[in-house]
């Protein structure tokens, strides 16, 4: 565990990404001397984390929480507003996204997309899709290329006779395998998995998750596994980060966060997933559920003092509007790396009782 922290593969320090919303002052407005401040959407706000070699880090959050933006920053498809990304100690955050395709770091960070169907060009066969990154980034002679693509297909459980097919002739699971084979074709050190199973049936999801686990062991890659489903994240990840409106609200060992969520949002997220522990009519004692209501705060020019979850948070108090909570260690052993950004974490005082009283508050 400790070697993860000594020499991380990826070291992201206080990443910021802001998008300008609305119109920038036009030519005439500028001529008139208008000095209207431009509204900024804070998509990623002060995000710091590391990923160790061979480690799987989970990133959990709902739509609009900034996880897609974060992923695009890490894959260097988007430029940072501020912050630093180091890969094996070398700074790559300042390289412009536009020319990153030609940088020697390009093959080292690859990604598996959420919607395998959308990420495959409908005009390319499976073979062409898998061969493309090899041809661009690590060229091979024709004969070797064919062998390499076949090797990759076999590794990903894709029957070789399907290599000549177009995406619309493949099933969802087969498309997912093509997407994975393409991503590992140039032997990346860091593979970013952006909800790789979200569009798949449960029976196929299991196969793909097991394939990813197997590939990680064989190729020694690190993963950043992005998902909204904590149940799935738990299966593959060593550590997880929970993101809410651009900020990390909780991070820690997967099992620990899953068992003792400290942030009210994490707790709500966990309790929203339907489990079999509450089969209707089974006579099982009702498990208290934590539901959050209301709409998220606006990510446009948010107040730097107010907790982003304030307004939806059942524990929200005045203190939450006076200073933004920062990540700090929680749990019995702080050394385990479980931290939460909340003034009133759920299990901070005394584990169970706090959680129960919180649920009663809501009910």
């Amino acid at each position: 565990m400790s070697e993860f922290f000594e020499k991380p593969l990826l070291d992201a320090q206080s990443l910021h990404k802001q998008f300008t919303v609305g119109k920038t002052p036009g030519l005439f407005a500028k001529a008139r001397g208008a000095d209207r401040p431009v509204a900024k959407l804070h998509a990623v706000d002060d995000v710091t984390f590391t990923i160790g070699k061979g480690e799987v880090l989970g990133l959990v959050g709902e739509s609009g929480c900034g996880k897609s933006t974060l992923v695009r920053l890490l894959t260097r498809l988007l430029d940072l507003t501020d912050g630093s990304i180091r890969l094996d100690g070398e700074e790559i955050g300042h390289l412009p996204a536009k020319g990153f395709g030609r940088s020697p770091y390009r093959p080292r960070i690859q990604m598996v997309f959420q919607d395998a169907g959308d990420s495959l060009n409908p005009r390319f066969t499976a073979f062409a899709a898998i061969a493309d990154p090899i041809q661009r980034l690590k060229p091979l002679p024709r004969a070797d290329l064919k062998l390499r693509v076949e090797e990759l297909a076999t590794m990903c459980g894709l029957p070789l006779e399907l290599l000549g097919r177009f995406p619309h002739q493949l099933s969802g699971g087969q498309k997912a395998r093509v997407g994975i084979a393409r991503a590992i074709a140039v032997e990346p050190d860091l593979l970013i998995l952006d909800e790789p199973t979200a569009a798949l049936d449960v029976s196929v999801q299991v196969v793909i998750l097991q394939l990813l686990e197997d590939l990680k062991k064989r190729l020694g890659m690190s993963y950043l596994f992005v998902s909204h489903d904590l149940n799935v994240v738990r299966l593959l990840c060593d550590r997880v980060m929970v993101m809410y409106l651009g900020r990390i609200v909780e991070t820690g060992p997967a099992e620990e966060v899953f068992r003792n969520p400290a942030h009210p949002y994490t707790k709500a997220l966990l309790s929203a997933i339907p489990h079999f522990d509450q089969v209707k009519g089974s006579g099982a004692p009702p498990v208290p559920r934590l539901r959050i209501s209301g709409e998220p705060r606006s990510p446009i020019d948010p107040s730097p003092k107010v907790c982003r979850f304030y307004g939806r948070c059942p524990k929200g108090q005045e203190a939450c509007t006076e200073s933004m909570p920062l990540l700090h260690g929680v749990g019995l052993e702080h050394s385990a790396g479980h931290s939460v950004a909340c003034h009133f974490p759920v299990s901070d005082t005394d584990g169970k009782t706090a959680a129960v009283s919180l649920i009663e508050d809501v009910a």
Partner: protein
């Protein structure tokens, strides 16, 4: 419990004409939904669960054809009813909500007006009362600040909010049956839970029956009384929820439960389901459409599919060699 079924589907078969041949999308599907009950049809993509819902609503694609069977809704066979009758029933006695609420709503009409339209069309209210009733409906689906939200356009509202509007429209005429086709797919996890809670609560309040179409076994387990499991156009098993999860009898049901991530299982505990769905266009489909993927297959599985009724009312398994 001698409940009167609100909806009774009997021996329903549906075919689709495609360029690859006739697809036997549904075969001998029979189930019923009792008053006040929430029934889930669970299955993976291609199982025919949505086709079932669309057939019952009478909004089947033009390429589809009901080749046999009946679907009795309050004594009326909705498969034979003329379109004019169905148009009156849809929205008033039988409503449907869809997967993507943003697409189902009219993008250039205020949501309050859209609810009022439905109320006016089915003749329960006067033109004067309609806007007020629309706001009442918005309050019932727990939309904060309903007066202001009634004037909003769909694009100004979040996905969860749009689904609440859809529910308000669907429930505005107090229907006897709500068909919810993947109502939470595409919504955030926390929103999903809130929407399902809302459907369950409002259903209970009105004594409404709900047919939930979903791929999520966990959701079906938590909210439904009865579960119908479909595979490749067949009902392979149905049972009251507690019984189904305690003792799944069809091998496919057992596999499906085993494949679903749970808080306690590790990745290696989860079982994959080998094989694929059979080609439903083929002239010769094996009687049991799961047999090619099944580990419990026997020689008699090539005979016509048995529909074995269970001890409990409403339980059935279509298998020669059940667990």
């Amino acid at each position: 419990m001698s409940a009167v079924p609100v909806l009774a589907v009997d021996n329903l078969s549906v075919e689709f004409r495609t360029r690859g041949g006739i697809v036997k999308a549904l075969e001998q599907v029979s189930f019923s939904v009792n008053k006040g009950e929430m029934v889930a049809i669970v299955g993976e993509s291609g199982s025919g669960k949505s086709v079932t819902a669309f057939t019952v609503m009478g909004i089947l694609d033009a390429a589809g054809r009901v080749s046999q069977g009946t679907a009795s809704f309050g004594g009326l066979d909705v498969l034979q009813a003329p379109e004019a009758v169905m148009r009156d029933i849809r929205g008033r006695e039988m409503s449907m909500i869809f997967q993507n609420p943003r697409v189902a709503l009219n993008p250039i009409r205020r949501v309050g007006d859209q609810i009022a339209d439905v109320l006016l069309q089915h003749g329960n209210v006067t033109r004067r009362e309609a806007p007020k009733r629309a706001i009442e409906m918005l309050t019932r689906v727990r939309i904060p600040d309903p007066e202001r939200r009634a004037k909003a356009y769909p694009f100004e509202l979040s996905g969860g909010m749009c689904q609440r509007i859809m529910i308000a429209i669907a429930l505005s005429c107090a229907p006897k049956l709500l068909i919810a086709d993947e109502p939470t797919t595409g919504l955030d996890v926390t929103t999903q839970a809130a929407i399902m809670d809302l459907i369950a609560e409002l259903g209970a309040e009105q004594g409404m029956s709900t047919l939930l179409i979903t791929h999520d076994l966990g959701m079906a387990a938590e909210y439904c009384d009865q579960i119908v499991v479909m595979h490749a156009g067949h009902i392979v098993e149905m049972a009251p929820t507690a019984e189904l999860f305690a003792h799944p009898r069809h091998p496919y049901t057992a596999k499906l439960i085993a494949a679903t991530p749970k808080p306690t299982a590790s990745l290696m505990d989860l079982a994959a389901i080998p094989g694929n769905l059979p080609d439903l266009r083929a002239a010769e489909i094996p009687p049991c459409r799961y047999s090619a993927r099944c580990e419990r297959r026997q020689s008699r599985c090539d005979q016509a599919l048995p529909y074995v009724l269970g001890e409990q009312k409403g339980s059935m398994v279509a298998c020669w060699n059940p667990l």
